[in-house]
């Protein structure tokens, strides 16, 4: 019984970690640009594939650099996101938000076929960076998964420091809160938006890179995680990164318990929880994004 | 200013009304009454709390403290939609129109709401009488062309249309938030000359938030002066004009 619980908790933390990484990017982007970035799915997948490409390109002597692959991939994905924002999104900021969302959705299909073009439609994979396991209270748990949990924790802390203590973080928060005012104070809001998109996409890319050894990659990978990340940000309240952390934990745990005991309807259970919470507090747990 | 027998019936009454935003007390303990059939103006410097007070009356902002009763019923806890359904209708300072619809449609929507015919699938809206003819009449009274899409109308007509929409609901209490703001000084008179006769003829109790004392004097019977969220003075327009305290606050002296 204890072993089962430990397993469930660890898996829950693991799911929560990945969900948080996916959702944090969405939240940051929504906070500043006020759009729900459907293209996030594509950036996650690009993170997986970039990491894969980096790893197979590594000559054997440098294999220890494998740990850097997700990070490098994250930066690359960030740059991709930046290009998307500057090249495409910037030109339709004046349009109705739902059309901006539609454009981001279109990008996913483009990315999907680009992947098929470069890497084919078969799944790709690498083995875990380490097959080491850790014994926790009798449960033999993969070290890699634990490391993922730690990484997401680190990212959460870093984000917290970024937004609270650094100058650039405060500017981002100010822009998210009131774009007009921030612009009036002389801040280059356009650059802030670009930077935000870079960050948000990079985090999604990082999530993908970390997950490559766990799930492998194929066009359309991670679909269920992405739907859940929508649930997470709806639950958290659009724009709230803290909320995303809490919501990710909730969803992650429920997911873990659900998969263990009610595998067929665990997704439905999560949705029911979301419906209940949002019925009581429609703007989400930490919601109340100031309306434009 | 027309002669209108002032009915002494109180239609709206507030006591200790208060609303704050963060640390700012926009409305800070207001006791007032509105008499049925009167035209009341609320004036004050920017930030004095006029629009907030009007919004509180409309139900657009929830009340933080105090009481408000309308036609004898306590409405302090009621929301925007209930206020509107009771007949308290607010007209916006920045016109809130149905931008892609024609002016005729905008008024029609108000009429449909009044008649409770919004969830109706027959007949076609274009042929729907008497809604259509009443809408046309109202637009004629307000001098707004009927077929232009709202977003193409010049500012003065947008303001008139906003009032027309509110008026079409046959409000028991009409709240006009700066009906001449953004309108050129020349046009201000025209706008008010269009609106006020309609209001007087229908005996609609009206509250106007205004900056322009000339308009206030010409068109209203009673004035309330607000300063920092409180009522500074109230009375007939001439009294207010002669009140030195008011003059200081409104920067005449």
């Amino acid at each position: 019984m204890l072993e089962l619980s430990i397993n469930i908790v660890l898996n829950g933390l693991f799911y929560a970690g990945i969900l948080f990484l996916m959702s944090a990017g969405l939240q940051i982007i929504f906070g500043v640009l006020r759009i729900v970035n459907f293209a996030h799915a594509g950036f996650y997948i690009m993170g997986i594939y970039f990491t894969y490409a980096i790893i197979i390109a590594l000559p054997p002597e440098y294999f220890f650099l494998i740990w850097m692959a997700p990070l490098i991939s994250a930066v690359l994905v960030g740059l991709l996101g930046l290009a998307f924002e500057r090249g495409l999104l910037k030109h339709i900021y004046h349009r109705d938000h739902v059309f901006q969302i539609l454009v981001t959705a279109g990008v996913v299909y483009i990315i999907d076929d680009l992947i098929r073009f470069k890497w084919g439609g078969y799944s790709i994979g690498v083995g875990p960076f380490t097959s080491a396991t850790l014994d926790i209270g009798g449960v033999v748990y993969p070290l890699y998964n634990l490391l993922i949990i730690l990484v997401t924790l680190a990212v959460a802390i870093l984000l917290g420091i970024l937004f609270r203590k650094t100058h650039i973080g405060r500017i981002i928060r100010a822009t998210a809160h009131d774009e007009e005012m921030t612009k009036a104070m002389g801040v280059n809001v356009s650059m802030v938006k670009a930077l935000t998109f870079f960050f948000g996409s990079a985090i999604a890319g990082l999530a993908g890179g970390l997950m490559l050894p766990v799930t492998g990659g194929w066009p359309g990978v991670g679909n269920e995680y992405l739907i859940l990340s929508f649930v997470v940000i709806a639950l958290a309240g659009l724009g709230s990164v803290n909320g995303a952390l809490i919501a990710a934990l909730i969803i992650g745990m429920v997911n873990s318990i659900g998969i263990q005991f009610f595998p067929e309807i665990e997704l439905a259970i999560i949705f029911i929880i979301m419906v209940v919470i949002l019925t009581v507090k429609p703007s989400g747990l930490f919601g109340a994004v100031p309306r434009r | 200013m027309g002669e209108k027998g002032l009915n002494q019936t109180i239609i709206l009454k507030t006591s200790g009304l208060a609303k704050h935003f963060g640390g700012v007390h926009a409305v800070d303990g207001v006791d007032m009454q509105i008499f049925e059939g009167e035209v009341l103006s609320i004036v004050g410097a920017n930030g004095a709390g006029k629009t907030t007070l009007l919004k509180l009356i409309s139900g657009g902002h929830p009340i933080d403290r105090g009481q408000m009763s309308f036609e004898g019923l306590d409405v302090s806890r009621l929301g925007l939609i209930q206020h509107a359904r009771m007949g308290i209708i607010y007209s916006f300072q920045i016109p809130a129109l149905f931008e892609h619809l024609s002016a005729l449609d905008c008024v029609r929507i108000a009429l449909l709401t009044r008649e409770g015919k919004t969830v109706l699938f027959f007949p076609t809206i274009e042929k729907f009488q008497p809604i259509r003819s009443e809408a046309e009449e109202i637009l004629e009274m307000f001098n707004v062309p009927r077929s232009s899409p709202a977003h193409l109308l010049p500012h003065g007509q947008r303001k008139l249309l906003d009032v027309a929409i509110a008026f079409a609901l046959k409000p028991k209490l009409l709240l006009l938030d700066e009906p001449t703001s953004g309108v050129s000084t020349k046009e201000k008179g025209q706008v008010m000359d269009t609106i006020m006769p309609i209001i007087r003829k229908s005996n609609t109790t009206t509250v106007i938030v205004e900056h322009d004392m000339e308009i206030v004097t010409r068109y209203s019977q009673r004035v309330i002066v607000m300063d920092q969220g409180k009522i500074l003075a109230q009375g007939a327009p001439q009294e207010i004009l002669n009140n030195p305290k008011v003059g200081e606050v409104l920067l005449w002296r």
């Binding site: 729900v36 990315i111 076929d113 | -």
Partner: protein, 316 residues
Amino acid sequence: MPKRINFFLIIIGLLILATGPAYFPGFTIYLFTYGMIMAVAALALNILLGYTGLMSFGHGMFIGSGGYTVALMMKYAGIHSFEILIPVSILISAGLAVLVGCFCTRQIEIYFSMLTLAFGELLFALCSKFYSFTGGTDGIRVKMPTLFGYIFSRQATDFYYFVLALFLLCTAAIWVICHSPFGKTIQAVRDNELRVGYLGLLVMKYRLIAFTISGAFTGLAGVLAVSLTGHAVPELFQVFTSISIVFMVILGGHTSFLGPVVGAMVFVFLQAWLKPLLFWQFFFGLSIIVLVIFLPGGVLGGVGIWARRVLTRRSS
């Protein structure tokens, strides 16, 4: 779009549809049939998008609910007739719309789009997982239902005319709805929901009614789609189906009543032409982006502007 041209084009369109089977090959007729079915779904979506201002990324769930009601009733209740399947599917789709709508229409618009997508995917997941009941990812094979005893042959054109009749009926019904007092009210909600509140109306109520009507008609489209293809699959619930319908509406033009019909027809034919291509998703995504950025009024919007320009040039 100038009224005379509009009328003229509609007459031509109707003539083509009415006499098509006489000179078009079988596959073209199949595409027209599928196009009309999708046109119903697109018109239904536009009630929500063009008239109420809500973009649903989950309308596939109603195609799925309509389709699977047919499949499941055939499989487990042995019911094979349209006269029962259609009303029941419409009711179930409407019920689903009320359920999902009650929740989604409370939220602000951005949430709405996200949540409708999420619910669509939820139903897709549920449908795929309950293998024993729904056949899982294999789906359920569906025989063509009968109509008051009449047996359709998929090869011949009788089903085409049945769909044509329903398509005309639905188009007329949706036209009436969009041009009724309710139709104007939802447009008011679209244009200024704040003002609607200040009139004393509950915005959510109108969104929910629009969503339900939209879902019901889309469910009907689902019934016909599954009858035509003979196969009910979970992918119907998925986001790609939903986005396709949105794309049809935007392609044809969401600002005109018949835009969705044009968009659906064009899309169905384009898809048939491009699907065999290896990287059609790329073009799909690209067209969405190009359409939104350069041709926001869709085909009919663009044609309307062109027509007006041509006509005014001629008169001056």
